[in-house]
Protein backbone atom coordinates (compact mmCIF):
# COMPACT_ATOMS: atom_id res chain seq x y z
CA UNK A 1 0.00 0.00 0.00
CA UNK A 2 1.86 3.05 -1.22
CA UNK A 3 -1.33 5.04 -1.66
CA UNK A 4 -2.00 8.01 0.50
CA UNK A 5 -4.72 7.08 3.00
CA UNK A 6 -8.10 8.61 2.24
CA UNK A 7 -8.75 8.91 5.96
CA UNK A 8 -5.93 9.38 8.43
CA UNK A 9 -6.88 9.39 12.10
CA UNK A 10 -4.42 10.25 14.87
CA UNK A 11 -5.06 9.84 18.59
CA UNK A 12 -8.83 10.17 18.47
CA UNK A 13 -10.02 10.50 22.04
CA UNK A 14 -13.53 10.76 23.41
CA UNK A 15 -14.02 10.97 27.15
CA UNK A 16 -17.17 11.46 29.17
CA UNK A 17 -16.26 13.29 32.36
CA UNK A 18 -13.69 15.88 33.38
CA UNK A 19 -10.75 13.55 34.02
CA UNK A 20 -8.47 13.91 37.05
CA UNK A 21 -4.81 13.81 38.00
CA UNK A 22 -4.86 10.02 38.20
CA UNK A 23 -6.38 9.22 34.83
CA UNK A 24 -4.94 12.13 32.83
CA UNK A 25 -1.38 10.93 33.24
CA UNK A 26 -1.10 7.22 33.45
CA UNK A 27 -3.98 5.52 31.69
CA UNK A 28 -2.67 1.99 31.58
CA UNK A 29 -2.34 1.68 35.32
CA UNK A 30 -5.17 3.87 36.46
CA UNK A 31 -8.18 2.74 34.45
CA UNK A 32 -10.61 0.01 35.36
CA UNK A 33 -11.53 -1.20 31.88
CA UNK A 34 -12.22 2.24 30.37
CA UNK A 35 -13.30 4.01 33.55
CA UNK A 36 -11.26 5.97 36.04
CA UNK A 37 -12.04 4.70 39.55
CA UNK A 38 -11.10 8.09 41.07
CA UNK A 39 -13.29 10.52 39.14
CA UNK A 40 -15.62 8.21 37.21
CA UNK A 41 -14.57 9.56 33.81
CA UNK A 42 -15.21 7.09 30.99
CA UNK A 43 -12.74 6.97 28.12
CA UNK A 44 -14.95 5.61 25.34
CA UNK A 45 -12.26 6.07 22.68
CA UNK A 46 -8.70 6.19 23.88
CA UNK A 47 -6.04 7.42 21.45
CA UNK A 48 -7.28 5.64 18.36
CA UNK A 49 -4.93 5.95 15.38
CA UNK A 50 -5.54 4.27 12.05
CA UNK A 51 -5.65 4.78 8.30
CA UNK A 52 -8.22 3.88 5.66
CA UNK A 53 -6.93 3.52 2.12
CA UNK A 54 -8.86 4.26 -1.08
CA UNK A 55 -11.20 1.45 -2.06
CA UNK A 56 -10.58 -0.78 0.94
CA UNK A 57 -12.92 -1.99 3.64
CA UNK A 58 -11.61 -1.63 7.15
CA UNK A 59 -13.34 -3.90 9.64
CA UNK A 60 -13.73 -3.00 13.31
CA UNK A 61 -14.56 -5.72 15.83
CA UNK A 62 -14.89 -5.69 19.58
CA UNK A 63 -17.31 -6.50 22.35
CA UNK A 64 -20.17 -4.15 23.13
CA UNK A 65 -18.95 -1.16 25.09
CA UNK A 66 -15.54 -1.26 23.46
CA UNK A 67 -16.08 2.11 21.78
CA UNK A 68 -16.86 1.06 18.21
CA UNK A 69 -20.04 3.05 17.80
CA UNK A 70 -18.66 6.08 19.62
CA UNK A 71 -15.75 6.08 17.21
CA UNK A 72 -18.16 6.00 14.26
CA UNK A 73 -20.22 8.83 15.73
CA UNK A 74 -17.05 10.88 16.17
CA UNK A 75 -16.03 10.21 12.58
CA UNK A 76 -19.46 11.32 11.35
CA UNK A 77 -19.34 14.33 13.71
CA UNK A 78 -22.46 13.25 15.61
CA UNK A 79 -20.28 13.47 18.71
CA UNK A 80 -17.55 16.00 19.30
CA UNK A 81 -14.13 14.46 19.98
CA UNK A 82 -12.30 15.36 23.19
CA UNK A 83 -9.03 15.52 21.29
CA UNK A 84 -7.39 14.04 18.23
CA UNK A 85 -6.95 14.68 14.55
CA UNK A 86 -8.44 13.38 11.33
CA UNK A 87 -7.40 14.18 7.78
CA UNK A 88 -9.42 13.38 4.68
CA UNK A 89 -7.35 13.32 1.50
CA UNK A 90 -10.14 14.77 -0.67
CA UNK A 91 -10.82 17.63 1.74
CA UNK A 92 -8.40 20.55 1.44
CA UNK A 93 -5.65 18.24 0.16
CA UNK A 94 -5.74 16.32 3.43
CA UNK A 95 -3.90 19.16 5.17
CA UNK A 96 -6.66 20.22 7.55
CA UNK A 97 -7.61 18.49 10.78
CA UNK A 98 -11.34 18.14 10.20
CA UNK A 99 -12.12 17.84 13.92
CA UNK A 100 -11.10 21.50 14.22
CA UNK A 101 -13.50 22.72 11.53
CA UNK A 102 -16.62 24.82 12.19
CA UNK A 103 -19.94 23.00 12.45
CA UNK A 104 -20.97 24.52 9.12
CA UNK A 105 -17.96 22.98 7.39
CA UNK A 106 -18.47 19.69 9.20
CA UNK A 107 -21.98 19.63 7.81
CA UNK A 108 -20.56 20.16 4.34
CA UNK A 109 -18.11 17.28 4.77
CA UNK A 110 -20.89 15.04 6.05
CA UNK A 111 -23.10 15.88 3.12
CA UNK A 112 -20.53 15.54 0.37
CA UNK A 113 -17.71 13.23 1.51
CA UNK A 114 -19.26 10.90 4.06
CA UNK A 115 -22.12 8.43 4.09
CA UNK A 116 -23.36 6.78 7.27
CA UNK A 117 -25.52 3.75 7.90
CA UNK A 118 -26.58 3.45 11.51
CA UNK A 119 -27.31 0.24 13.34
CA UNK A 120 -30.71 1.65 14.20
CA UNK A 121 -32.50 2.98 11.08
CA UNK A 122 -34.43 5.44 13.28
CA UNK A 123 -31.20 7.43 13.64
CA UNK A 124 -30.51 7.61 9.93
CA UNK A 125 -33.98 7.98 8.43
CA UNK A 126 -37.02 10.14 8.90
CA UNK A 127 -39.58 7.41 9.43
CA UNK A 128 -42.56 9.58 8.52
CA UNK A 129 -41.13 10.89 5.25
CA UNK A 130 -41.21 8.95 1.99
CA UNK A 131 -38.21 6.82 1.08
CA UNK A 132 -37.49 8.96 -1.94
CA UNK A 133 -37.69 12.03 0.29
CA UNK A 134 -35.23 10.47 2.71
CA UNK A 135 -32.75 9.89 -0.08
CA UNK A 136 -33.33 13.34 -1.52
CA UNK A 137 -32.71 14.92 1.87
CA UNK A 138 -29.00 14.29 1.59
CA UNK A 139 -28.91 15.70 -1.93
CA UNK A 140 -30.90 18.75 -0.85
CA UNK A 141 -28.46 19.22 2.01
CA UNK A 142 -25.61 19.16 -0.51
CA UNK A 143 -27.30 21.95 -2.44
CA UNK A 144 -29.38 20.23 -5.14
CA UNK A 145 -32.57 22.15 -5.94
CA UNK A 146 -33.83 20.16 -8.91
CA UNK A 147 -36.72 17.83 -8.14
CA UNK A 148 -36.54 15.71 -11.28
CA UNK A 149 -32.82 15.11 -11.03
CA UNK A 150 -33.12 14.07 -7.37
CA UNK A 151 -36.11 11.85 -8.04
CA UNK A 152 -34.30 10.06 -10.87
CA UNK A 153 -31.16 9.57 -8.84
CA UNK A 154 -33.25 8.19 -5.96
CA UNK A 155 -34.90 5.73 -8.31
CA UNK A 156 -31.54 4.49 -9.57
CA UNK A 157 -30.33 4.04 -6.00
CA UNK A 158 -33.47 2.27 -4.82
CA UNK A 159 -33.17 -0.11 -7.75
CA UNK A 160 -29.56 -0.65 -6.81
CA UNK A 161 -30.53 -1.72 -3.30
CA UNK A 162 -33.41 -3.86 -4.63
CA UNK A 163 -36.36 -1.84 -3.37
CA UNK A 164 -39.26 -1.86 -5.83
CA UNK A 165 -39.83 1.55 -7.40
CA UNK A 166 -43.54 1.10 -6.78
CA UNK A 167 -42.83 1.51 -3.07
CA UNK A 168 -40.53 4.50 -3.30
CA UNK A 169 -43.15 6.88 -1.94
CA UNK A 170 -43.83 4.69 1.09
CA UNK A 171 -42.46 5.81 4.43
CA UNK A 172 -39.67 3.64 5.90
CA UNK A 173 -41.89 2.93 8.92
CA UNK A 174 -43.94 0.73 6.61
CA UNK A 175 -40.83 -1.27 5.67
CA UNK A 176 -39.20 -4.31 7.21
CA UNK A 177 -35.92 -3.88 9.07
CA UNK A 178 -33.89 -5.14 6.12
CA UNK A 179 -35.60 -2.78 3.71
CA UNK A 180 -35.07 0.15 6.07
CA UNK A 181 -31.40 -0.72 6.21
CA UNK A 182 -31.25 -0.77 2.42
CA UNK A 183 -32.98 2.62 2.19
CA UNK A 184 -30.32 3.91 4.58
CA UNK A 185 -27.61 2.55 2.31
CA UNK A 186 -29.25 4.17 -0.72
CA UNK A 187 -29.39 7.47 1.16
CA UNK A 188 -25.77 7.20 2.24
CA UNK A 189 -24.74 6.60 -1.39
CA UNK A 190 -26.78 9.45 -2.88
CA UNK A 191 -23.94 11.98 -3.17
CA UNK A 192 -21.27 9.52 -4.34
CA UNK A 193 -19.39 9.73 -1.05
CA UNK A 194 -15.79 8.47 -1.19
CA UNK A 195 -16.09 7.21 2.39
CA UNK A 196 -18.93 5.11 3.78
CA UNK A 197 -19.37 4.35 7.49
CA UNK A 198 -21.37 1.23 8.33
CA UNK A 199 -22.26 0.60 11.97
CA UNK A 200 -23.55 -2.92 12.66
CA UNK A 201 -25.67 -2.84 9.52
CA UNK A 202 -26.66 -6.50 9.64
CA UNK A 203 -27.21 -6.88 13.36
CA UNK A 204 -30.75 -7.91 14.11
CA UNK A 205 -31.58 -8.93 10.54
CA UNK A 206 -32.50 -12.49 9.69
CA UNK A 207 -29.92 -14.57 7.86
CA UNK A 208 -31.23 -14.32 4.32
CA UNK A 209 -31.65 -10.55 4.56
CA UNK A 210 -28.23 -10.32 6.19
CA UNK A 211 -26.74 -12.14 3.24
CA UNK A 212 -28.38 -9.85 0.70
CA UNK A 213 -27.29 -6.70 2.54
CA UNK A 214 -23.72 -8.00 2.80
CA UNK A 215 -23.81 -8.90 -0.86
CA UNK A 216 -24.96 -5.40 -1.65
CA UNK A 217 -22.15 -3.82 0.35
CA UNK A 218 -19.57 -5.97 -1.39
CA UNK A 219 -21.01 -5.10 -4.80
CA UNK A 220 -21.00 -1.40 -4.01
CA UNK A 221 -17.39 -1.55 -2.95
CA UNK A 222 -16.35 -3.40 -6.09
CA UNK A 223 -18.42 -1.31 -8.51
CA UNK A 224 -18.00 2.12 -7.02
CA UNK A 225 -14.65 1.73 -5.31
CA UNK A 226 -15.89 3.37 -2.12
CA UNK A 227 -13.74 3.13 1.01
CA UNK A 228 -15.63 1.82 4.00
CA UNK A 229 -15.32 1.35 7.71
CA UNK A 230 -17.47 -1.59 8.77
CA UNK A 231 -18.19 -2.04 12.46
CA UNK A 232 -19.49 -5.39 13.61
CA UNK A 233 -19.25 -7.73 16.53
CA UNK A 234 -19.89 -10.58 14.11
CA UNK A 235 -16.62 -12.07 12.92
CA UNK A 236 -18.31 -13.80 9.99
CA UNK A 237 -19.34 -10.41 8.62
CA UNK A 238 -15.84 -9.07 9.07
CA UNK A 239 -14.31 -12.13 7.43
CA UNK A 240 -16.53 -11.71 4.40
CA UNK A 241 -16.17 -7.96 3.94
CA UNK A 242 -13.01 -6.55 5.41
CA UNK A 243 -9.57 -6.39 3.82
CA UNK A 244 -8.01 -5.22 7.03
CA UNK A 245 -9.36 -5.40 10.55
CA UNK A 246 -8.75 -3.74 13.85
CA UNK A 247 -9.80 -5.16 17.19
CA UNK A 248 -11.04 -2.84 19.92
CA UNK A 249 -11.25 -3.41 23.66
CA UNK A 250 -12.06 -0.90 26.38
CA UNK A 251 -11.73 2.04 24.02
CA UNK A 252 -8.36 1.02 22.60
CA UNK A 253 -7.15 -0.66 19.45
CA UNK A 254 -5.40 -3.77 20.70
CA UNK A 255 -4.58 -5.33 17.38
CA UNK A 256 -4.77 -4.45 13.70
CA UNK A 257 -3.71 -6.08 10.49
CA UNK A 258 -4.92 -8.09 7.51
CA UNK A 259 -8.22 -9.77 8.30
CA UNK A 260 -6.99 -13.27 7.52
CA UNK A 261 -3.96 -12.76 9.68
CA UNK A 262 -6.00 -11.61 12.63
CA UNK A 263 -8.50 -14.42 12.33
CA UNK A 264 -5.95 -17.16 11.70
CA UNK A 265 -3.21 -15.99 13.98
CA UNK A 266 -4.52 -13.70 16.69
CA UNK A 267 -1.80 -12.23 18.90
CA UNK A 268 -3.66 -10.52 21.72
CA UNK A 269 -5.27 -12.64 24.40
CA UNK A 270 -8.65 -11.00 23.88
CA UNK A 271 -8.56 -11.53 20.11
CA UNK A 272 -7.69 -15.16 20.67
CA UNK A 273 -10.64 -15.54 22.97
CA UNK A 274 -12.86 -13.77 20.43
CA UNK A 275 -11.76 -15.93 17.53
CA UNK A 276 -11.98 -19.20 19.44
CA UNK A 277 -15.40 -18.40 20.83
CA UNK A 278 -16.79 -18.60 17.28
CA UNK A 279 -19.33 -21.35 17.22
Amino acid sequence: MHDKPILHVVNLKKQYGPGCAVCSHNHEVALEKNRCPECGTVFACNDLSFDVYPGEILGVVGESGSGKSTMMKCLYFDEEVSSGEAYISCYEEGETNVFQESSQKLRHIRNTILGMVYQNPVLGLKMDFSSVGNIAEKMIAAGDRNVNRMENRSKVLLEHVHIPIARMKDEPKKFSGGMQQRVQIAKALSNHPPILLLDEVTTGLDLSVQASVLDLIKTIQQELGISMIVVSHDLAVIRMLADRTMVMLDGRIIEQGLTDQILENPQHAYTQQLVYSLI
Binding site: R107, F129, S130, V132, A136, I140, A141, V147, N148, M150
Partner: protein, 289 residues
Protein backbone atom coordinates in the same frame (compact mmCIF):
# COMPACT_ATOMS: atom_id res chain seq x y z
CA UNK B 1 -64.86 51.46 30.98
CA UNK B 2 -63.00 54.41 32.45
CA UNK B 3 -59.71 55.30 30.85
CA UNK B 4 -57.76 54.80 34.07
CA UNK B 5 -55.62 51.92 32.96
CA UNK B 6 -52.02 52.40 31.97
CA UNK B 7 -51.65 53.79 28.45
CA UNK B 8 -51.83 50.77 26.13
CA UNK B 9 -52.52 48.41 29.02
CA UNK B 10 -48.94 47.29 29.69
CA UNK B 11 -46.49 48.98 32.03
CA UNK B 12 -43.62 50.92 30.46
CA UNK B 13 -41.05 48.29 31.37
CA UNK B 14 -42.92 45.61 29.47
CA UNK B 15 -43.39 47.82 26.45
CA UNK B 16 -39.71 48.71 26.44
CA UNK B 17 -38.71 45.07 26.57
CA UNK B 18 -40.95 44.27 23.62
CA UNK B 19 -39.66 47.29 21.70
CA UNK B 20 -36.08 46.21 22.31
CA UNK B 21 -36.88 42.76 20.94
CA UNK B 22 -38.62 44.43 18.00
CA UNK B 23 -35.60 46.61 17.22
CA UNK B 24 -33.37 43.57 17.27
CA UNK B 25 -35.79 41.77 14.96
CA UNK B 26 -35.72 44.68 12.51
CA UNK B 27 -31.93 44.71 12.63
CA UNK B 28 -31.74 40.99 11.76
CA UNK B 29 -34.46 40.46 9.13
CA UNK B 30 -36.20 37.11 9.51
CA UNK B 31 -34.47 36.16 12.75
CA UNK B 32 -36.77 35.07 15.57
CA UNK B 33 -36.06 37.12 18.67
CA UNK B 34 -37.28 35.60 21.95
CA UNK B 35 -39.28 37.90 24.22
CA UNK B 36 -41.12 37.62 27.52
CA UNK B 37 -44.66 37.22 26.26
CA UNK B 38 -47.05 38.86 28.73
CA UNK B 39 -50.43 37.68 29.90
CA UNK B 40 -53.05 39.45 27.81
CA UNK B 41 -56.77 39.78 28.39
CA UNK B 42 -57.28 37.40 25.45
CA UNK B 43 -56.20 33.78 25.31
CA UNK B 44 -52.85 32.73 23.87
CA UNK B 45 -53.31 31.62 20.31
CA UNK B 46 -55.85 34.41 19.71
CA UNK B 47 -53.37 37.03 18.60
CA UNK B 48 -51.51 37.87 21.79
CA UNK B 49 -48.21 38.22 19.90
CA UNK B 50 -49.71 40.73 17.50
CA UNK B 51 -51.55 42.52 20.28
CA UNK B 52 -48.41 42.96 22.36
CA UNK B 53 -46.56 44.35 19.35
CA UNK B 54 -49.40 46.76 18.62
CA UNK B 55 -49.64 47.91 22.24
CA UNK B 56 -45.91 48.44 22.57
CA UNK B 57 -45.52 50.54 19.41
CA UNK B 58 -48.79 52.48 19.40
CA UNK B 59 -48.76 56.22 20.12
CA UNK B 60 -51.55 58.75 20.62
CA UNK B 61 -51.37 59.92 16.99
CA UNK B 62 -51.77 56.43 15.52
CA UNK B 63 -54.81 55.10 13.73
CA UNK B 64 -55.45 51.39 14.09
CA UNK B 65 -57.00 48.87 11.75
CA UNK B 66 -57.44 45.25 12.81
CA UNK B 67 -58.36 42.49 10.39
CA UNK B 68 -59.04 38.82 10.93
CA UNK B 69 -58.74 36.66 7.80
CA UNK B 70 -59.43 39.76 5.72
CA UNK B 71 -62.50 40.84 7.69
CA UNK B 72 -62.73 44.03 9.78
CA UNK B 73 -65.93 43.00 11.50
CA UNK B 74 -65.16 39.58 12.91
CA UNK B 75 -65.47 39.13 16.67
CA UNK B 76 -61.75 38.84 17.28
CA UNK B 77 -60.85 41.89 15.20
CA UNK B 78 -63.58 44.00 16.79
CA UNK B 79 -62.61 43.02 20.33
CA UNK B 80 -58.91 43.71 19.80
CA UNK B 81 -59.82 47.08 18.29
CA UNK B 82 -62.06 47.91 21.26
CA UNK B 83 -59.42 46.88 23.78
CA UNK B 84 -56.74 49.05 22.19
CA UNK B 85 -59.14 51.96 21.83
CA UNK B 86 -60.24 51.76 25.48
CA UNK B 87 -56.69 51.62 26.80
CA UNK B 88 -55.16 54.24 24.49
CA UNK B 89 -57.97 56.35 23.11
CA UNK B 90 -56.56 56.09 19.58
CA UNK B 91 -58.84 56.17 16.58
CA UNK B 92 -59.69 52.94 14.83
CA UNK B 93 -60.61 52.57 11.18
CA UNK B 94 -61.57 50.02 8.58
CA UNK B 95 -59.96 51.98 5.73
CA UNK B 96 -56.54 50.57 4.91
CA UNK B 97 -55.31 53.96 3.59
CA UNK B 98 -56.14 55.76 6.85
CA UNK B 99 -54.42 53.32 9.21
CA UNK B 100 -50.89 53.77 10.52
CA UNK B 101 -50.84 50.38 12.24
CA UNK B 102 -52.56 47.40 10.66
CA UNK B 103 -52.79 44.34 12.89
CA UNK B 104 -53.76 41.34 10.85
CA UNK B 105 -54.41 37.67 11.09
CA UNK B 106 -53.56 35.69 7.96
CA UNK B 107 -53.82 38.45 5.33
CA UNK B 108 -51.97 41.43 3.96
CA UNK B 109 -54.53 44.00 2.71
CA UNK B 110 -55.26 44.28 -1.03
CA UNK B 111 -54.67 48.04 -1.02
CA UNK B 112 -50.91 48.61 -1.40
CA UNK B 113 -49.35 49.61 1.91
CA UNK B 114 -47.15 52.67 2.33
CA UNK B 115 -43.93 53.68 4.08
CA UNK B 116 -45.98 55.35 6.83
CA UNK B 117 -47.69 52.12 7.83
CA UNK B 118 -46.66 49.18 9.98
CA UNK B 119 -48.19 45.77 9.44
CA UNK B 120 -48.41 43.58 12.55
CA UNK B 121 -49.04 39.91 11.81
CA UNK B 122 -50.25 37.35 14.34
CA UNK B 123 -48.24 34.13 14.19
CA UNK B 124 -49.23 30.70 15.54
CA UNK B 125 -46.01 28.80 14.71
CA UNK B 126 -43.01 31.02 14.03
CA UNK B 127 -40.54 28.18 13.36
CA UNK B 128 -40.53 27.10 9.70
CA UNK B 129 -38.50 23.99 10.56
CA UNK B 130 -40.69 22.83 13.44
CA UNK B 131 -42.37 20.03 11.49
CA UNK B 132 -39.06 18.38 10.68
CA UNK B 133 -37.22 19.22 13.88
CA UNK B 134 -39.10 19.31 17.19
CA UNK B 135 -36.17 20.50 19.28
CA UNK B 136 -35.83 24.27 19.69
CA UNK B 137 -32.14 23.93 20.51
CA UNK B 138 -31.53 22.16 17.22
CA UNK B 139 -33.59 24.52 15.08
CA UNK B 140 -31.62 27.44 16.52
CA UNK B 141 -28.42 25.70 15.44
CA UNK B 142 -29.86 25.00 11.99
CA UNK B 143 -30.73 28.68 11.54
CA UNK B 144 -27.28 29.63 12.75
CA UNK B 145 -25.66 27.37 10.18
CA UNK B 146 -28.13 28.37 7.45
CA UNK B 147 -29.03 24.70 7.13
CA UNK B 148 -32.50 24.61 5.64
CA UNK B 149 -32.70 21.13 4.09
CA UNK B 150 -35.69 20.44 6.34
CA UNK B 151 -37.80 23.22 4.83
CA UNK B 152 -36.87 22.11 1.32
CA UNK B 153 -37.55 18.49 2.22
CA UNK B 154 -41.11 19.34 3.26
CA UNK B 155 -41.72 20.94 -0.14
CA UNK B 156 -40.07 17.98 -1.89
CA UNK B 157 -42.38 15.60 -0.04
CA UNK B 158 -45.42 17.57 -1.14
CA UNK B 159 -44.27 17.43 -4.76
CA UNK B 160 -43.78 13.67 -4.46
CA UNK B 161 -47.23 13.22 -2.95
CA UNK B 162 -49.33 15.74 -4.83
CA UNK B 163 -47.27 16.66 -7.88
CA UNK B 164 -46.90 20.25 -6.67
CA UNK B 165 -46.07 22.16 -3.52
CA UNK B 166 -49.19 21.98 -1.40
CA UNK B 167 -48.70 24.67 1.23
CA UNK B 168 -52.15 26.26 1.41
CA UNK B 169 -50.70 29.02 3.56
CA UNK B 170 -47.51 29.80 5.44
CA UNK B 171 -45.29 28.89 2.47
CA UNK B 172 -41.74 29.43 3.80
CA UNK B 173 -39.75 32.41 2.53
CA UNK B 174 -36.11 33.40 2.40
CA UNK B 175 -35.56 36.82 3.94
CA UNK B 176 -32.64 38.91 2.71
CA UNK B 177 -31.04 35.67 1.39
CA UNK B 178 -30.26 34.62 4.94
CA UNK B 179 -33.04 33.36 7.20
CA UNK B 180 -35.87 31.06 6.22
CA UNK B 181 -38.99 32.49 7.82
CA UNK B 182 -42.60 31.45 8.36
CA UNK B 183 -44.58 34.37 6.89
CA UNK B 184 -47.49 33.46 9.26
CA UNK B 185 -50.40 31.65 7.61
CA UNK B 186 -50.95 34.20 4.84
CA UNK B 187 -51.88 32.69 1.47
CA UNK B 188 -49.13 32.36 -1.15
CA UNK B 189 -51.02 35.18 -2.89
CA UNK B 190 -49.72 37.51 -0.16
CA UNK B 191 -46.14 36.16 -0.01
CA UNK B 192 -45.37 38.29 -3.04
CA UNK B 193 -46.53 41.44 -1.23
CA UNK B 194 -43.83 40.88 1.39
CA UNK B 195 -41.04 41.29 -1.13
CA UNK B 196 -39.77 44.87 -1.24
CA UNK B 197 -42.70 45.96 0.94
CA UNK B 198 -42.92 49.67 1.56
CA UNK B 199 -44.29 49.11 5.05
CA UNK B 200 -42.44 47.60 7.98
CA UNK B 201 -43.79 44.14 8.71
CA UNK B 202 -43.65 42.90 12.31
CA UNK B 203 -44.60 39.35 13.26
CA UNK B 204 -45.46 38.32 16.80
CA UNK B 205 -46.05 34.86 18.27
CA UNK B 206 -47.40 35.27 21.81
CA UNK B 207 -47.68 31.61 22.71
CA UNK B 208 -44.25 30.77 21.26
CA UNK B 209 -42.74 33.99 22.65
CA UNK B 210 -41.04 35.13 19.45
CA UNK B 211 -40.89 38.40 17.54
CA UNK B 212 -39.47 38.75 14.03
CA UNK B 213 -39.61 41.31 11.28
CA UNK B 214 -39.24 42.21 7.64
CA UNK B 215 -37.95 45.79 7.36
CA UNK B 216 -39.18 47.97 4.47
CA UNK B 217 -37.64 47.26 1.05
CA UNK B 218 -36.25 43.85 2.02
CA UNK B 219 -35.87 40.99 -0.44
CA UNK B 220 -38.33 38.21 0.40
CA UNK B 221 -38.46 35.17 -1.89
CA UNK B 222 -40.65 32.09 -1.54
CA UNK B 223 -38.81 28.77 -1.44
CA UNK B 224 -39.11 27.02 -4.81
CA UNK B 225 -37.21 24.30 -6.67
CA UNK B 226 -35.62 24.97 -10.07
CA UNK B 227 -38.20 22.87 -11.87
CA UNK B 228 -41.21 23.56 -9.62
CA UNK B 229 -41.98 27.24 -9.20
CA UNK B 230 -44.13 28.43 -6.32
CA UNK B 231 -47.61 28.93 -7.70
CA UNK B 232 -49.85 31.66 -6.37
CA UNK B 233 -53.51 30.77 -5.80
CA UNK B 234 -55.28 31.35 -9.07
CA UNK B 235 -58.78 32.79 -9.40
CA UNK B 236 -58.82 32.83 -13.18
CA UNK B 237 -62.32 33.17 -14.54
CA UNK B 238 -63.78 33.91 -11.10
CA UNK B 239 -64.91 37.18 -9.63
CA UNK B 240 -66.38 38.60 -6.43
CA UNK B 241 -70.16 38.18 -6.41
CA UNK B 242 -70.57 41.59 -4.70
CA UNK B 243 -68.09 43.96 -6.33
CA UNK B 244 -67.04 41.86 -9.35
CA UNK B 245 -63.31 42.35 -8.68
CA UNK B 246 -61.08 39.75 -10.34
CA UNK B 247 -57.52 40.54 -9.25
CA UNK B 248 -58.06 39.96 -5.52
CA UNK B 249 -57.97 37.02 -3.11
CA UNK B 250 -61.40 35.36 -3.17
CA UNK B 251 -63.19 33.15 -0.66
CA UNK B 252 -65.16 30.22 -2.01
CA UNK B 253 -68.68 30.03 -0.63
CA UNK B 254 -71.61 27.74 -1.24
CA UNK B 255 -75.21 28.88 -1.33
CA UNK B 256 -76.79 26.35 0.98
CA UNK B 257 -80.21 26.51 -0.68
CA UNK B 258 -79.19 26.20 -4.30
CA UNK B 259 -75.82 24.46 -3.72
CA UNK B 260 -74.21 26.86 -6.14
CA UNK B 261 -70.59 27.85 -5.52
CA UNK B 262 -69.83 31.54 -5.60
CA UNK B 263 -66.90 33.77 -4.70
CA UNK B 264 -66.53 36.83 -2.58
CA UNK B 265 -63.68 39.21 -1.72
CA UNK B 266 -61.71 38.08 1.31
CA UNK B 267 -60.68 41.67 2.10
CA UNK B 268 -64.03 43.14 3.21
CA UNK B 269 -62.98 46.78 3.42
CA UNK B 270 -61.53 46.66 -0.08
CA UNK B 271 -64.75 45.09 -1.35
CA UNK B 272 -66.82 47.83 0.28
CA UNK B 273 -64.55 50.53 -1.16
CA UNK B 274 -64.92 49.08 -4.65
CA UNK B 275 -68.71 48.98 -4.26
CA UNK B 276 -68.82 52.59 -3.03
CA UNK B 277 -66.65 53.66 -5.95
CA UNK B 278 -69.10 52.02 -8.37
CA UNK B 279 -72.04 53.63 -6.61
CA UNK B 280 -70.44 57.05 -7.08
CA UNK B 281 -69.90 56.43 -10.78
CA UNK B 282 -73.55 55.48 -11.13
CA UNK B 283 -74.71 58.55 -9.16
CA UNK B 284 -72.53 60.83 -11.24
CA UNK B 285 -73.93 59.16 -14.33
CA UNK B 286 -77.50 59.81 -13.14
CA UNK B 287 -76.64 63.39 -12.17
CA UNK B 288 -75.32 64.10 -15.63
CA UNK B 289 -78.30 62.62 -17.40
Amino acid sequence: MKNKTHFALMDEGSKKEIRRATLKAVAIPGYQVPFASREMPIARGWGTGGLQLTLSIIGKEDVLKVIDQGADESVNAVNIKKLVHHTTGVETTTETEDATIIQSRHRIPEVPVTEKQIIVLQVPIPEPLRLVEPSEMKTKQLHGEKEYSGAWLMLFEQIMKYGKTATYADHPVFVHDRYVMAPSPIPRFDNIKMNDSKALILLGAGREKKIYAVPPYTKVTSLAFEDYAMEVESFAGKHCSLCHSTDVFLDELVNEETNVTYYQCNDTSNCLATLNEKEKVVEVGIGNA
